[in-house]
């Protein structure tokens, strides 16, 4: 394999991997505050991608306006959903919350099918598609911008969680909800916010993958599996580790598709889940002693 092809595979893998990372972070965030794996995360991502598709076409491809509209819509969606469907469930067995997320996933997927129809769409080309040639390297500018957007979003989110009062309150809620409410943190608001931010993270992941491939009603399922594989690979519950796990999975997946076979690419994710959970359940980037939520 020549160096140019290898480089492009890694770059493409990183772009796809960043969107896995965003989903991985959404999984970790909601898991940390609500104690459940959100099986609807893939559908959140799909919803984000469809929102963005509609926003772009209605706003004449005005990227900034569309971005603001999509983020606001996803924040509102996450909060309303948490209020309506999940707030009564936290006192129950976490498994029951998980069943409810499976139900939500089914609703979202089929609602999108009703509202947007069964056909897959592709996003408009927003930048000139001429590749930049750097010696043996071929770079498509739009992919580079998307990669940067994803990375900036993740870093911004990390800074929000670690450097602001609200982020610190959310981390406290995730670590010990009773303790957090004892020191005066509005934990209900923090949990609600975690669903809202989780929706934004997942939705942004969906938008990125939609630019890379296209959007369809079925995109959520496999994307969600890649997302939580990334989270497990890095370290579930830790945001930076989830981030790294997603990118690593994206790159590994693309390289393995080159080496083994495109068709068995999806099996790789499942094998990673099982192997990691068996041999290093805290993930690659989290030490056993330091394993904690967020």
């Amino acid at each position: 394999m020549d160096i140019g092809l290898l480089f492009n595979q890694v770059l493409w893998g990183a772009l796809v991997g960043v969107s896995y990372s965003l989903l991985a972070m959404a999984f970790s965030l909601i898991f940390a505050t609500s104690g459940t794996i959100n099986f609807a995360t893939g559908e959140f991502a799909m919803l984000g991608a469809y929102f963005c598709f509609t926003a772009l076409s209605r706003l004449n491809n005005n990227v900034l306006l569309a971005a603001v509209a999509v983020v606001l819509a996803l924040l509102a969606f996450g909060m309303v959903l948490e209020r309506l469907a999940f707030r009564r469930l936290y006192r129950l067995d976490p498994i029951l919350i998980l069943i409810a997320t499976i139900g939500i996933g089914s609703i979202l997927k089929n609602a999108v099918l009703v509202l947007w129809g069964p056909y897959s769409h592709s996003y408009p080309q927003l930048m000139p598609s001429d590749p930049i040639l750097l010696g043996p390297l071929v770079i498509i500018p739009q992919n580079l911008v998307l990669l940067a957007v994803g990375l900036v979003a993740m870093v911004a989110f990390h800074l929000f969680m670690t450097r602001t009062r609200l982020g610190t309150a959310m981390r406290a809620t995730a670590q010990n909800i009773r303790g957090a409410s004892l020191v005066g943190i509005d934990t209900a608001r923090c949990v609600s916010l975690s669903w809202a931010l989780g929706s934004v993270m997942a939705g942004l992941g969906g938008v990125l993958i939609a630019f890379a491939y296209n959007i369809s009603v079925d995109m959520g399922g496999s994307l969600a599996i890649k997302g939580f594989t990334g989270a497990i690979l890095g370290g579930f519950g830790s945001l930076p580790a989830s981030m790294a796990g997603g990118v690593l999975l994206g790159i590994a997946e693309n390289l393995s598709a080159q080496v083994v076979s495109y068709y068995y690419r999806d099996v790789l994710a499942f094998l990673v889940i099982v192997v990691i959970l068996l041999f290093k359940p805290t993930g690659l980037f989290v030490q056993r002693k330091k394993f904690r939520r967020l």
Partner: protein, 330 residues
């Protein structure tokens, strides 16, 4: 069915009589409705779905092992039976049994890694397994027919008699569902069933009481998988066509809906819920994909407002009636 408290005995007598009546009525149905193929088909769907759901109930309900792999075992049973009858020329009954056995072996093997996990993690690992099985169904084309599906599965022949008519299948499925139902009820009230409930409620306490939790988790997976595999084999011989699409997550959602509405732990609740959904889905299916939206809404609403499902309602009504009749027994 043994009950720990003596006050249960008259209740059991009522239950026994009710069961006898129900079985008698079910045996009489095809003689009365022999020409009503549509009605018999509904009955057959109910029988099959009850069988599948009893498998879910054992694994997810009793033992709270939140496995999402039941549909995969259902598929393994279906494909095994199909391949053995169509390609190896085996008779239906041995093929069905082998389908159940193979599903059970797969269940036992899955339990080795899966039983190390609890709650959401178990769901993840089992979902991963189910997806691998589904991908294999698509890829292993020489055996499974690939994404296009497995056509022309022979209709069963039992002791020289060919099963072709809807009411033939009726008796076959009735026998299957009664067998699985009785086995489930027996297991539920046997020492095993109590251990499984304990393992589901709190594995640590169960272990401290001397229960080998891992061995029992493995057994639960095997029992659940065998039930699913038998149901799958029966389905394959009934539908004569199966495809990987029939064994995906969408079906898990449908079965979960029935389980949740039944109340996760109640045999009677589950059976009632299956009957309701099988009959209503025949209508709702025409409005696809609205039927799946309704399924999802039902799951969310039940979790929010009736987490104990129909089974919970039945139990509380039963307790109230019984308490009024015999005060002081509680």
């Amino acid at each position: 069915m043994r009950s720990p408290d003596a006050s249960g005995t008259p209740r059991l007598r009522v239950a026994f009589a009710a069961h006898l009546l129900l079985v008698g009525a079910l045996l009489a149905v095809p003689f009365a409705l022999r020409s009503e193929v549509f009605v018999l088909r509904l009955f057959n769907q109910v029988f099959l779905n009850v069988t599948i759901l009893l498998g879910f109930l054992v694994v997810l309900g009793f033992a709270k092992q939140f496995s999402l792999a039941q549909v995969a075992f259902y598929g393994i049973g279906a494909y095994t039976t199909a391949a053995l009858t169509a390609k190896a020329g085996l008779g239906f009954l041995p093929a069905l049994l082998l389908g159940g056995v193979l599903a059970g072996v797969a269940g036992g093997l899955l339990a080795i890694p899966a039983a190390r996990f609890q709650g959401p993690w178990l769901s993840l690992v089992t979902l991963a397994f189910a997806e691998i099985v589904r991908i294999m169904m698509v890829r292993a084309k020489p055996v499974t027919g690939g994404a296009g599906g497995f056509y022309n599965i022979p209709r069963p022949t039992i002791a020289g008699a060919e099963v072709t008519q809807e009411f033939h299948y009726y008796f076959l499925f009735l026998a299957l569902v009664l067998f699985v139902y009785l086995a489930t009820v027996r297991l539920r009230y046997s020492p095993y069933g109590r251990i499984w409930l304990a393992v589901g409620d709190n594995p640590d306490i169960a272990a401290s009481m001397g229960v080998n939790v891992f061995a029992h988790q493995m057994l639960i997976f095997v029992v659940g998988a065998v039930i699913a595999g038998l149901a799958g084999g029966a389905f394959a011989a009934y539908a004569t066509f199966i495809s990987p699409e029939g064994f995906g997550l969408a079906h898990t959602v449908q079965f979960l809906t029935m389980l949740v509405v039944g109340g996760l732990q109640s045999i009677v609740g589950t059976v009632l819920s299956v009957v309701f959904f099988t009959l209503s889905s025949n209508e709702l299916m025409k409005y696809h994909p609205w039927d799946l939206i309704v399924d999802g809404l039902i799951i969310v609403l039940f979790m929010n407002f009736l987490p104990r499902g129909l089974g919970g309602i039945i139990t509380s009504i039963g307790q109230r009636v019984w308490q009024r009749r015999s005060p002081g027994t509680r």
